[in-house]
């Protein structure tokens, strides 16, 4: 159970947050179909850090960009989106 430092609310339990997706799987409305499908269905899951989108759903509602280690779960940075 992660402790996520919300920029507004301070450190809060993971239960308050909702994971949206990895930052590289955001499909823009004007992305071409092949680009969009690759982003959705052909994703890498590499060892190391990844950027993720979370939202403080049960808190302030802020969308967040987390940089998190896939192995250790260590959160390196949290910034509002």
């Amino acid at each position: 159970m992660l402790l996520i430092p919300c920029p507004h609310c301070g450190p809060r339990i993971q239960e308050e947050f909702a994971y949206e997706r990895s930052a590289d799987s955001v499909v823009r409305l004007d992305d071409a179909p092949d680009v969009a499908m690759t982003a959705l269905f052909s994703r890498a899951n590499l060892r190391g850090e990844e950027a993720e989108i979370w939202v403080h759903a049960q808190g302030c509602g802020q969308w967040l960009r987390l940089t998190r280690d896939r192995m250790s779960h260590a959160i390196r940075s949290v910034e509002p989106l």
């Binding site: 159970m1 992660l2 402790l3 339990i13 993971q14 909702a18 949206e20 955001v26 499909v27 823009r28 409305l29 004007d30 992305d31 071409a32 179909p33 969009a36 499908m37 959705l40 989108i53 939202v55 759903a57 509602g61 969308w63 250790s72 779960h73 989106l81």
Partner: protein, 952 residues
């Protein structure tokens, strides 16, 4: 009169398998039964072998019993992990007709025929055959039975924070907690035992001039006095990210009646975690090492010193290291004859060994070969001493194959393990979180090193660092158990290796090694040593299986906590709930909401009431509460961009004051939700969507606005709870509404502002029932007057209120889809007959996916159809659509309903290539309900195909 560090004199009566016994306060059930001479406690899982006490803690693999009776019964409780209380009722498991004469023991005779993997090899075939096998397998091999009826106990959840959490109140844990609390830190100390002291309870040591157990009790007092919190009978079961530790506190013993909470699940967020979880003793591997009377040396010592119980009259000690020698002294102190100490080492040295040699026959290079059984108890052992085989008559064998530090929490928290060849054990390596491991859990067994400030008086002297004997020696003939709970033997492990299940993970699954409720706490290292040996690898390279939480089994009720019954989930009530109650509403849960299902008249069944209500709407007028529908207002210069991104239908040309039906897609092209979109003003929109999808739609809108459109100049406000919604439908609705509002009603799919009963309302002319209908939106706090006016008007012409079932009957007849039924997350708009509505220019969420060939070519997909019961019998909802019974389904029935206009039964379904199969006859087949109804496939529209009734 018994004397021990953990008992006082108060006698207590308890029963085991119906027979009454006496124990004393502080006894575990295991200790009390041993004190009463009861050696046989259980039958083993697979072979039904007689089993007694093996260990004296939570690691006990075999002595599992059921505590309590009826709904409060708790199965699979370790007899060594329940403390006596007056009136305790314990029952043995997995034995029939009795523990002593167990018919299942015949399994032991045919055991050569049921090796590891037996079930995989023997019981293969189609699933239907498995269902028969399973019944017998489950009956033959098993643990306790789950209690019947609702759990009468109450469970709580508590959250707490601390600077330092100490797990384990043995000497190392107490010392660490004292240091931390005296340094002014907030400390929580958890201990799974009922008494503090850990190993001190089974040792004859004096600390600061008092016995170890008393020193431990005083230490707890000092910690509490300094502001620390000590939770006894509390097991840290999981160590998660960011030093989040879950712990389960037993406030009453298993099966015991409680006035307050039976258990509390603690959620602890900790600055630092100090793991003082101790070490578990390993068994020795030899044939029939499970006969009642054979136990771990530490367990025998605990019986003697903590509970004052002699585990037998004549005992043999078998060990590979020094610590078990202490058991010889402890048992001798109770008058037990020490027949021999068998030490597997060739030349053991040290003060303890020398002291033992002066009193007991110590035989070196000696090890047990086989346990000998008479009846269900140990009669002696065959041993190898040097190169000679010798037989010893004994009723107790205390064995020790070394100590394994308890590293579960350390591993769960991401810590590394280091193999220490000198100790023959894994020790905690680098930690990933702020966590340290101390004491025996870190391989440190010297009290002097652990309690650096205390004066220790240990008559037996310090134990030399465990010089490991062989963890396993491959000479057992006969059943030599490594996992006592799951009856896994050395032969099973060898078989797994021979058959190619080489990796430890494969061995585990093939043999069920370590998959019992004890998770293999006892024998894991022994098994690893054998696997490593057979593979010719050094032990650490043989690999380790995962240490998964929970450390000990947790009652499901503890996880649920207070969230059960009416508190399982929050219940949302409509603003008009009281008014519906006054009208006699029958409530039904719809997502988190309670909604009126129907309004029953005296003597009416639910089906009759729903059909009456639906026909009332078709012929007169009816009111239904649709307040729980999600409603969003989207306003601002960029509002159109938000709406266009979310809605898959054309929206830009919608006029002010007009609305239309719309669908919203997921990114994979599947329909996520549907609703209506209304243009309130040039840059202000109202979007409605389904009740159940409200939270998902709110998140989706937020994602689209904040992430995809990067902060458009538009606000998205969830106004679901601001507005109550009342649908007013039927051929008389328009006239009645005009009278109520004193103004003309809006045209179909138009909207108007009006006043009803003094309250401002918004009238949206949309039809879900197929009749001319209006959704009246009113501020929720003013809904009562408007509802009363609408219901009164309807009743004035013979109409009235209708519920969810009637609404469903009406919409099925019109072929309207429902999110979750027809739009089940696997349907694109074209599957639902909505393909023509989709915006050709794209630019909405999911448009890219719709261009995929698999979705663009719809013939192979399940498409929405209507089904009509040929003989009028009701169509089973959820039934498969098949050509012939027993064949693969070609579709399924999503919703069924009686015909409102006319008689008979109809339904909607999803059918492969359904659009091209109108007129075909199929079977709606539900084998689970043993129903089969002939249906005819047709268009998903059963009433008023031209739409004449809802248009102006």
């Amino acid at each position: 009169m018994r004397a021990g560090s953990g008992i006082d004199g108060e006698a207590m009566r308890f029963t085991f398998d119906g027979k009454a016994y006496w124990g004393v306060d502080g006894d575990t059930l295991a200790a009390a039964l041993m004190a009463n001479g009861v050696r046989l406690l259980a039958r083993s899982f697979k072979y039904h072998r007689p089993r007694g006490i093996m260990a004296m803690g939570v690691e006990e693999p075999s002595a599992l019993v059921t505590l309590g009776e009826g709904a409060r019964a708790e199965p699979n409780v370790r007899a060594s992990d329940v403390f006596l209380y007056p009136g305790l009722v314990a029952t043995s498991q997995n034995a029939w007709p009795s523990l002593r004469h167990d018919v299942g023991a015949v399994n032991s005779l045919v055991s050569a025929l049921i090796p590891a993997g037996f079930y995989y090899k023997t019981f293969f075939g189609p699933p239907s055959r498995w269902m028969i096998y399973e019944r017998f397998i489950r009956r033959a091999a098993g643990l306790g039975r789950p209690p019947q009826g609702a759990d009468p106990d109450r469970y709580g959840h508590r959250a707490a924070f601390c600077d330092v959490l100490v797990v384990g109140a043995g000497p190392a844990g107490l010392a660490a907690a004292l240091r931390a609390v005296e340094a002014g830190r907030r400390v929580i100390l958890v201990e799974q035992d009922a008494l503090p002291g850990g190993s001190l309870l089974r040792e004859n040591v004096t600390i600061d001039g008092v016995p170890g157990a008393k020193w431990a009790a005083r230490a707890v007092g000092r910690i509490r006095a300094a502001g620390g919190r000590v939770l006894m009978r509390t097991t840290a079961t999981g160590h998660w990210d960011d030093n989040f530790v879950t712990a389960v506190e037993r406030r009453v013993e298993p099966g015991q009646t409680s006035r307050g909470l039976a258990q509390v699940l603690w959620k602890l967020r900790c600055g630092d975690v100090i793991l003082a979880s101790g070490a578990l003793e390993r068994p020795l591997v030899f044939a029939d090492n499970d006969v009642p009377g054979i136990m771990l040396a530490g367990a025998a010592r605990a019986l003697a010193l903590r509970y004052g119980v002699a585990p037998g009259r004549r005992a043999v000690i078998a060990t590979s290291h020094d610590e078990a020698y202490r058991t010889a002294f402890a048992l001798a102190g109770l008058g037990v004859e020490i027949v021999a100490i068998l030490d597997s080492r060739v030349d053991p040295q040290g003060a303890l060994v020398n002291a033992a040699r002066a009193r007991f026959p110590v035989l070196v290079d000696a090890r047990p070969l086989r346990g000998l059984r008479r009846g269900v108890a140990l009669a002696g052992i065959d041993a190898m001493v040097g190169t000679t085989r010798r037989r010893f008559v004994a009723d107790c064998l205390a064995m020790s194959g070394g100590m394994s530090p308890v590293l579960h929490l350390h591993r769960q928290a991401g810590g590394a393990l280091d193999y220490d060849a000198a100790r023959g054990a894994f020790l905690p390596g680098a930690a990933r979180q702020r966590q340290t491991t101390v004491g025996a859990a870190a391989g440190e067994h010297d009290l002097r090193a652990i309690l650096d400030l205390s004066k220790i008086d240990d008559p037996l002297g310090p134990v030399a660092p465990a010089e490991p004997g062989p963890i396993w020696r491959g000479e057992a003939h006969g059943k030599a158990f490594v996992d006592f709970q799951n009856d896994v033997t050395t032969a099973d492990l060898a078989l797994a290796q021979r058959e190619g299940y080489v990796s430890v993970e494969h061995t585990k699954r093939y043999t069920t090694l370590g998959m019992g409720t004890d998770q293999g706490k006892l024998g894991a290292m022994v098994a690893l040593a054998q696997i490593a040996d057979e593979r010719g690898l050094p032990l650490p390279q043989a690999g380790l299986t995962m240490f998964r939480p929970p450390y000990t089994p947790v009652t499901l009720g503890a996880f649920a906590g207070p969230a059960r019954g009416d508190h399982a989930a929050p219940i949302r009530r409509l603003p008009l709930a009281e008014a519906h109650d006054d009208l006699g509403a029958l409530w039904v849960p719809a997502g988190a909401w309670m909604r009126p299902r129907a309004y029953l008249r005296p003597g009416e069944s639910l089906g009759e009431a729903s059909l009456r209500e639906a026909r009332m709407v078709r012929s007169l007028a009816g009111v239904v509460d649709v307040s729980s529908l999600a409603k969003f207002e989207i306003a601002g210069p960029d509002a159109l961009a938000v709406v266009e991104a979310v809605c898959a239908t054309p929206v830009a040309r919608l006029g002010v004051g007009r609305g239309r039906y719309t669908v919203m897609l997921r990114e994979d092209g599947m329909v996520m939700d549907d609703g209506t979109l209304w243009r309130l003003a040039e840059d202000r929109w109202l979007l409605t969507s389904s009740t159940g999808g409200a939270a998902r739609m709110a998140r989706h809108l937020s994602y689209v606005a904040d992430i995809l459109l990067a902060r458009p100049r538009a606000a998205v406000i969830n106004v679901s709870e601001h507005w109550a919604g009342l649908a007013f439908a039927g051929p008389r609705a328009a006239g009645l509404l005009a009278e109520l509002t004193g103004q003309p009603v809006p045209a179909h799919m138009g909207l108007a502002q009006a006043t009803i009963a003094g309250a401002p309302v918004r009238v949206l002319a949309a039809s879900y029932s197929g009749e001319r209908a209006f959704e009246v939106h009113v501020p929720a706090y003013r809904a009562a007057g408007v509802f009363a006016a609408l219901v009164g008007a309807a009743q004035g012409v013979g109409g009235g209120v209708y519920g969810l079932d009637a609404m469903d009957h009406l919409r099925v007849e019109k072929g309207h889809v429902v999110i979750g039924a027809e739009a089940d997350g696997r349907a694109i708009p074209a599957d639902l007959g909505l393909g023509g509505m989709v915006r050709k220019s794209g630019g909405f969420v999911g448009w890219q996916a719709l261009t995929r060939p698999a979705l663009a070519d719809c013939a192979e997909r399940r498409q929405l159809v209507g089904v009509t019961s040929i003989d009028g019998a009701p169509i089973p909802e959820g039934a498969m659509l098949v050509v012939r019974e027993g064949e693969e389904p070609v579709g399924h029935v999503t919703t069924s309903a009686p015909r409102v206009a006319g008689e008979g039964a109809i339904g909607l379904g999803l059918l492969v290539d359904g659009g091209a199969r109108h007129g075909e006859a199929l079977l709606a087949w539900s084998p689970t309900r043993k129903q089969c109804v002939s249906v005819q496939v047709g268009a998903p529209l059963f009433y008023d195909a031209e739409g004449a009734r809802y248009r102006d």
